[in-house]
């Protein structure tokens, strides 16, 4: 028998007079996985933050198992068995995994002191159930991004939540980890736990979810069973228009000469990059594939001078480089859009405009001052080009939705007009509309003669843009594939997993 676990009725919310939720209804059954979808800035995270007491709604009611409830803070949410895995991570880097999971709920000895042993044991059991091998005594700050996420989920589960909110849980997970997560979600479903699943990845939604609710501009568009709604309709509701086939690979003739613009020879750096060699030609888009931990991001980081190079050589336009820091890299004509954008790519306390012009301040100079008119012009142009949803360019970036923050980092580096652009997971967290925009922008840039390295775990996206793909494993190039030779996504998947 179906039973409504949660229902939210007529929820409204405005920030500074701007309405971001307009009388939204949302309900979840017991043991249901319910997808909450919508473009960047549609109001998904805001709705969930109201449910968890981070924000207070201006109007509307929340019912749990039919009973009206008031949720003013995290504690109320927890008391109602609601738990959220935040898009912004809610872990403390200086505490261990076990300490984080049981923070404020630690096991106590009979004397009332902390019983760390028991917490560690419980954590070990929990992680075993999740099928993740993380040392409970490891400092969270030492974990890779994917393992942070796993820890987050473990933490929520340890709170015996009945309603679990996952805001883009897979955006930093590999295919394997995603599979493990999905298996786990199915297990939870059988236990009668309801899951609210926010994601921009259509294939995931259709694989794992029972129903879909779509928001656009803070309004309900549709709620429908997953099996009864075709993909095209979903996209149409999200974007508000028909979409072209941006995800298909378009045969492209790029003006590549025989001289590579970037050549990397036997690069080694730290423990993750062992022996990497490749060439990138002018106007070419080279995809880098591999499992998490295979050294994809680290290659980019060492080329860009963030991680020190232990051995090997980097040539740009045939000239040997000695790049020691990002400033050297930028003046050599490189640009890197990092994977963890919120942390590495943005000054969250500054405005949209200030973030955008940061890397090009020297180009905007008018005498000793920054040419503000030009800066404003440029920022507005970029906001329009990438369709960034913000009230204006003076809004503090921390107040933008997750996807829109990602777009700003992208905009920031596009403004710099580099020769070689390294994109690490360029579409993480952006909606389907913006994804195709970004893919189009990458193509346009390559057509105009720029050379681009794209690192991505999303194979459809990688296959859509790359002229050539190299596959990394354990810090080495194990395979090189010409895009034309790749017939299906499975082929690349096999190449990645096969080692």
């Amino acid at each position: 028998m179906e039973q409504t676990m949660l229902s939210m009725k007529n929820i409204s919310k405005a920030f500074n007079g701007i309405e971001v939720l307009k009388s939204v209804d949302f309900s979840v059954e017991k043991g249901e996985v319910h997808a909450l979808m919508g473009g960047n800035g549609a109001g998904k995270s805001t709705l969930m933050k109201i449910l968890t007491g981070v924000y207070t709604a201006d109007g509307g009611d929340v019912f749990i198992e039919g009973k009206p409830v008031t949720i003013n803070d995290m504690k109320d949410a927890r008391a109602n068995k609601i738990s959220m895995i935040f898009q912004e991570f809610s872990l403390i880097p200086t505490l261990t995994v076990a300490e984080n999971i049981f923070l404020t709920r630690e096991a106590k000895t009979s004397l009332g002191l902390l019983n760390d042993k028991e917490c560690v044991e419980k954590t070990r059991d929990l992680l075993k159930e999740l099928e993740v091998d993380i040392n409970p005594n490891e400092l969270v700050g030492n974990l890779g991004v994917g393992y942070w996420q796993m820890t987050e989920i473990a933490k929520a589960l340890s709170q015996e939540a009945k309603i679990l909110i996952m805001d883009e849980p897979t955006s930093s997970l590999t295919k394997n980890e995603t599979e493990i997560l999905f298996k786990f979600i199915n297990k939870l479903k059988r236990k009668g736990i309801s899951i609210i699943y926010i994601s921009h990845r259509m294939d995931e939604i259709f694989e794992i979810c029972d129903r879909i609710t779509i928001l656009r501009d803070g309004k309900n568009m549709v709620t429908e069973n997953c099996k009864d709604i075709p993909l095209e309709t979903v996209i149409q509701h999200i974007v508000g228009a028909e979409m072209d086939k941006a995800f298909e690979w378009q045969e492209r003739s790029y003006p590549h000469g025989s001289n590579p613009i970037l050549e990397v020879k036997n690069l080694a750096s730290g423990s993750r990059v062992n022996d990497i060699s490749f060439k990138l030609y002018p106007g070419e888009i080279l995809g880098i594939a591999g499992l998490m931990g295979s050294g994809r991001s680290e290659v980019a980081r060492s080329i860009f001078g963030i991680d020190p190079i232990d051995s090997g050589e980097v040539f740009i336009k045939g000239e040997k480089q000695s790049i020691k820091n990002p400033t050297d890299a930028i003046s050599a004509g490189l640009a890197l859009i990092p994977e963890d954008r919120r942390v590495q790519g943005l000054v969250l306390a500054h405005s949209v405009k200030e973030n955008m012009i940061l890397p090009i301040l020297s180009k905007l100079k008018k005498g000793p001052f920054v040419d503000d008119r030009k800066a404003i012009e440029l920022s507005n142009e970029l906001v329009k080009k990438l369709n960034i949803k913000t009230d204006n360019i003076y809004k503090t970036t921390s107040l933008l939705s997750g996807g829109n923050q990602q777009k700003i980092v992208l905009a920031k580096w596009l403004a710099n007009d580099p020769d070689v652009l390294i994109l690490d997971e360029p579409t993480i967290g952006v909606d389907i509309g913006a994804k195709t925009e970004i893919i189009d922008i990458i193509r346009e840039l390559a057509d105009s003669g720029k050379s681009i390295l794209v690192i991505s775990s999303e194979l459809p996206e990688l296959l859509a843009v790359s002229d050539r793909v190299i596959v990394l494993h354990d810090g080495r190039v194990v395979k090189e594939l010409n895009r034309k030779e790749i017939q299906a996504e499975e082929e690349l998947q096999h190449a990645i997993q096969g080692y």
Partner: protein, 330 residues
Amino acid sequence: MLSKDIKMKDPINAAPYKSGKTFDWRDYIVYIAFVGVLVYFSISLFDEGFLSSQNLMNIFRQTAMISIMAVAMTFVISTGEIDLSVGSITALASLTTALAIQAGFGLFGGVVVGLGTGILIGLINGLLITKVAIPSFLVTLGMMGIVRGLAMWSTNTAPVPILDQNFNFFFGSGDLGPIPILLVWTFVFALVGHILLRKTSFGRQTLATGGNESAAKFSGVKTAKVKLMVFIGTGLAAGFAGILYAGRMQAGRYTFGEGDELSVIAAVILGGTALAGGVGTVVGTVIGSLMIGTINNGLIIMGLDVSQQMIVRGLIIILAVAIGRKTIKR
């Protein structure tokens, strides 16, 4: 989606983390430095009696107040805050204690008044920081001046003698057999502080607050309450240090604890607590303050004058923190 026949890879092999907390000798720099300083003075000052039990007990006497305040300061710095008012609080607390005893409240009354003075100022600090949201550096910098001023003003800069010999014995000058009473108090504070930080949820929440305040809030930590508590803690510890100064000198005086805030903070940072918050150790703090005390003592025996002492002490602190860079970078 992914076809079923693809062999699932064990995530363990792709695990990008190191197993366990890795050993780094830099984490132990204060202990290494402390041993180094001890060995150096033991050899070079052997004839002057550096190693005599009398001198060693003297070091404990001289560092007791710093150690006690530093234990409490470890909590404040672990939350990512700072308290500059502790030195001034000792002065005012020594005077209020002395005045209370003079007025006939007795030993017990005097201690209550002294502790109360510290707690009250700590509470005001904490409320200004958490409710009015003024940075702790500014609040306590202001409070440092206000409290020292109050101490001067309360008795017109005159010292207030304490004639209660029981008080003077238990809170300063006494010895229990060979062990100075000040060492006993230091030990009590260090033990309580260590258990509080490592073994209670309050300690865990203190570290969480400094590690990432918003994440701590999301996890249900009442970070404002934690901060209020740690400032009450430094107030209390400074009040107690004031009582000990009064007992040791058999008087309350507005000059007590001048510059102590710097020694206290240096001891905490030397001990390995991160100035940015999130990482703290009470044991390290106590070693840190003992090290500062030992250096002071050794330099005095060596016959260096005050100005030279200040220079050498400053150099050693900068050197130790620089070598153990982890303590600043966390």
